[in-house]
Symmetry: C2
Subunit: 658 residues, 2 copies
């Protein structure tokens, strides 16, 4: 459940995930370790030549439960590596490092829901070693072997991909529509672009990209991912476990000692000296931005994550990281300290920490626009997630009485920049600061996901349209600054939600009925769906070339929904008073319909476990739109990790500096 | 509702759609005609140079209702056409045809649900003319103008696309997964292909295609399509109205006089003399196969549709059509006549009619395999839709006691071929019969859609996997017969269903609980989704290279669903007794949970209008996979009609024979 809460709650409100409080419907002692001998990175991992990573070895000895084997983990396990058919050598020799100390711990887990109901966890004793910051130099196949418990072996095959080392793109901008599926893009197009006789008169910016791909988003050890482990896959080429950022999840109690993998931002910065920009509409410690620089299996570590942006990884020697050139987003509660109600690492004032390192600091949109382009920039524009496009542009009163100003003075953050403004400002800064070395930007439309979670479809589609407008405006800006041809532009998502549109709803008829079964007659399907009402009336208008609905509350709205939902009440109309909250806690861990949400709607029992306040992610492959140098690497159907390898190849990072 | 029923019910059980019994939630006097002057094809229609079409003009005069204007439709309307900036000329002169007779009729419609509840329809009087079998020769822009009611004008812009006239593909095979979305492909991959640490060990055949596109499926006058009007778009380049096959829907009472557009099958046959194969797992009068040769706004005309396959269009001079070279599918009830309980055109025996025209006739899989490859072939293998892959291969007892043998003798159709067997046999026949002129095949996996409609997800995914295996086997067969390089292979869908997978369900735990809210705890999301159980256990196996689940009833099943549903009860387990029937009629037109369906499950109120027995289609763009000559025409995002133009261009049909 933590994964869900994390994605909408303010950072400060979230507790850490502990391996031994797992509330599992499906159960694993430890992901990617089906036997008692665990190697991370596991079998079938792929690497970029020269990419730093840690190795974690674990030997498990269950004390009780169906796997019980005496509870004495082997202390004398062995570990060798071989390249191709060469003779295996021990890891210290292979990597030229010292043998690390033996570690010990234990953890518990539940084998299934029956065990959980009974309160009978299984206890596992563990011995372990970790090799830190190693790398593989030559492309090819490697075999690593963990020997334990006498003749037991865990054999893992690693591949260093043989990629072109010629740099083809000077810059990369990676747009992530968090949770964005093809279904949502189709719905957004419908409400914002006019048709005449089945012909759209305008297209989404994404629709115009020359190359289309699909990426598979599944996690390494479960088939549904969260944004942490999917971002890790996109940025490092290594799929991971739910909630993990830039690490494989181990079983130790310490959430900061899991085996790390170097990210595209770290590699690009270390190997090219180019500039890095990170932009998100989420609180900036959220998973999708955080995964660029953070290394922990617990995405909930918001305060340390902010320190990592600036100072790089703690406790362990790691890659050369000196802070992003641009960091724009929400989440001020992890910048101002407890004297203003915030939660920061060592209770420091992180605005001051960034300023000390030479950053220009902005706390609203006006100040952001005034930031110098030759100076590193921190822009934090609100407490928690930034305001939604719909509230910033249509229902503006919802920005009042939020007490969420970024300065920690509990005023209203009414001057928040949009994603387009943040992204183009970031481009201006990284362009100047990179001094010809190129730049990498990740720009995230975070609240597509956050609003889908709370079944607030209009706000989610508004965020998606803002992303599309940001793409349109970014292309124009790159063109105007003569950078379009040398920049690879990618647009993708990190996972989906099971959302679709199936027709229309006559809200006038719906609201005129009192019986739920009669209200359902307002739902029109097939020919009775008619044409979208969102562009046929209303008086909202925007700049030329910019496409949003002309009204958000037409009589005929969309019949749309998510199958994976909590108890809720549906009225198929925009929520004018701010983001929706479909369910509230009745009894402890038992969420029921929010009495204030859609009071005139139809009540539906949820499909999810009753401890869910929100909807959840889905399995579907998500689209990838590519334009620019190397665009041809991103067509067809592939794994999420291939996005990392495509970007790294295009930037000429394979084997660089070795 | 007819659209839904049509897609699963036996053809004989369905009644025609009449314009004046519309049960509309969203309302149109007549699609694509917002004013009182209607021109079909309407504004923004695209044409292939030389493609035959009809023109229908209507002038409407509402008698009552909000649009009432006296009820006297203009009898003296005018109609002119101009190419580019040339002087407009009257249509008979432009096309070199006689002025058609004036027609008159009237129709009624409801303006909204309130009017329907009150029983107050609006009456419209109509004057009309229809120009039959005309064509546009030169690529470019055309302007057609209907003048009526004094100075009123309806101006429509038509485009004849300027396409390459060089034929690049000898053959085209178009696979249609009816209702298939990216979400479903992702789910099918999950249950049939093994992963190790997030890496699929095998891929879907579709995943290996070099080019990926998305097509927009919406209808011309409503944003949700059915299979009739989406097939019309794919085959003719003209989007149409729900339920319409190869025509624009007019308002006349006669469902056979609507304005026609020539299809890819008709064009290919007329212009190249090549061979045409039509294969479907549906009853063969169903929309997706029927749209290749039929022209009516009512897909429910099953008996005439069978005659059209053989004899071409009735009543009007039209294209040269002499019957497909191969016609394989179900729907025997429209071949054997009333003496065996069937419903056929003029009560003829259509097995005899086809045989008279030289067709070899097969009524089971064994006979199909024995058909000669040099002779036209009719293969009809069951009454109604053919058996599902899951019942043919796993739960075979479900083929018993169906009394559905194709011969009309009411035995069980236990010897039904699979889609792969039908498709490769069709290839063998068209290859030989085309004598080097090339061939066109449409092969449809129809019951992905039909099983999604009834919320039978396992059967739907089984059908999708059969389609994927058919693609795999077809590529191998084309390669073996040395035809792969000269054949364009397309895989797409006609529309979606709002389906996705969001986690897993511990069915053991689910079934051990009695309280619905406790059962919901069995749903595992994110890390608790675990790995798919469908390939981890079981004893089902197949030929090498063929991928289906090794079990269909693992303990941990998929948490999957459709948001647009009728009242139903869900238990998240495969239906071993045959296709699911989620809802049954309680009161008239009021569907409630089927007491026999999933008795141990959780009851959910439907989201759809209570007159729905099934789920409905969705809006989402659907994928297009392309391989072979002209594959590059099918990347990116485009309109469904572009599939027609891509195929026609690749076959060199533009302007051919003029």
């Amino acid at each position: 459940m933590v994964a869900i809460l994390r994605s909408i709650a303010p950072a400060a409100a979230v507790v850490a995930v502990l391996l031994d409080v797992v509330a599992a419907q499906t159960f694993q002692r430890l992901g990617t370790c089906p036997t008692f001998g665990c190697v991370f990175p596991p079998d079938q991992a792929d690497f970029l030549a020269g990419q730093y990573f840690d190795i974690r070895l674990e030997v498990h000895a269950p004390v009780n439960g169906s796997e019980a084997n005496g509870g004495q983990p082997d202390e004398k396990f062995t570990f060798t590596i071989a390249k191709g058919s060469a003779k295996p050598v021990d890891a210290p020799t292979f990597f030229g490092v010292k043998e690390p100390a033996l570690e010990r711990w234990n953890f518990t887990w539940f084998e299934d829901l029956f065990a959980k109901d009974k309160g009978t966890p299984s206890l596992v004793n563990v011995t372990s070693r970790a090799y830190r910051r190693v790398f593989l130099k030559e492309p090819g196949e490697y075999v690593a072997t963990l020997g334990y418990n006498g003749d037991k072996k865990t054999v893992v095959n690693w591949t260093v991909r043989d990629l072109s080392t010629v740099r083809k793109a000077k810059n990369v901008i990676l747009f992530i529509g968090d949770g964005m599926t093809t279904n949502m893009i189709t719905a957004a197009r419908l409400i914002a672009h006019k048709t005449i006789n089945g012909r759209y008169q305008t297209k989404m910016a994404m629709d115009k990209f020359p190359i289309l791909g699909h990426q598979m988003t599944h996690s390494i050890d479960s088939f549904i991912t969260d944004s942490a482990n999917s971002a890790t896959a996109l940025y490092t080429g290594h799929k991971s476990t739910v909630n993990a950022l830039g690490v494989y999840a181990d079983s130790s109690k310490n959430v900061f000692d899991d085996p790390k993998v170097e990210t595209i931002a770290e590699l690009f910065h270390r190997l090219t000296g180019g500039a890095v920009g990170i932009v998100s509409t989420a609180f900036i410690a959220d998973a999708t931005p955080a995964a660029l620089v953070s290394h922990t299996r617990d995405r909930g570590q918001a305060a340390p994550i902010i320190d990592w942006y600036l100072n790089g990884i703690q406790n362990y020697t790691w890659t050369n990281w000196t802070g992003p050139d641009v960091l724009f987003g929400g989440g001020a509660e992890n910048f101002f300290n407890s004297s203003h109600g915030g939660t920061t690492f060592l209770d420091r004032d992180y605005y001051a920490e960034f300023a000390k390192k030479g950053y220009g600091v902005a706390q609203n949109g006006t100040a952001m626009a005034a930031l110098k382009n030759d100076t590193k920039a921190l822009g934090i524009f609100s407490v928690s997630n930034m305001a939604k496009w719909l509230d910033r542009n249509v229902y503006k009163e919802n920005l009042r009485n939020q007490n969420n100003s970024a300065d920690g003075l509990h005023k209203d953050a009414t001057d928040q920049p949009g994603l387009l403004q943040m992204t183009t400002k970031a481009i201006d800064i990284v362009t100047q600061r990179s001094a010809g070395k190129g730049w990498f930007i990740m720009s995230e439309a975070a609240s597509i996901d956050k609003m889908m979670h709370v079944l607030d479809y209009e706000r989610a589609l508004g965020e998606l349209l803002e992303l599309d407008d940001t793409i349109r405006g970014t292309i124009a800006h790159l063109n105007a600054t003569n950078q379009l041809k040398e920049t690879l532009i990618l647009v993708t998502a990190d996972h989906g939600h099971g959302f679709d549109v199936m027709g229309s709803v006559d809200t006038k008829y719906f609201n005129a009925q009192t019986e739920p079964r009669k209200k359902r007659a307002a739902v029109g399907t097939y020919q009775n769906s008619g044409l979208a009402g969102y562009t046929m009336a209303g008086n909202l208008s925007y700049n030329p070339g910019v496409h949003f609905p002309t009204t958000w509350d037409p009589r005929y709205t969309l019949f749309q929904g998510l199958y994976a939902n909590p108890d809720h009440r549906e009225d198929y109309a925009v929520n004018k008073d701010g983001p929706r909250e479909p369910a509230v806690e009745g009894a402890k861990n038992d969420y029921v319909v929010n009495p204030k949400d859609n009071p005139g709607g139809i009540v539906y029992n949820g499909t999810l476990s009753v401890d869910n306040a929100q909807g959840v992610h889905s399995l579907t492959d998500v689209p990838v739109f590519a334009m620019g140098p190397c665009q041809e690497l991103f067509g067809g159907v592939y794994n999420s990790i291939d996005i990392f390898f495509g970007m790294a190849e295009c930037l000429g990072l394979s084997g660089k500096g070795l």
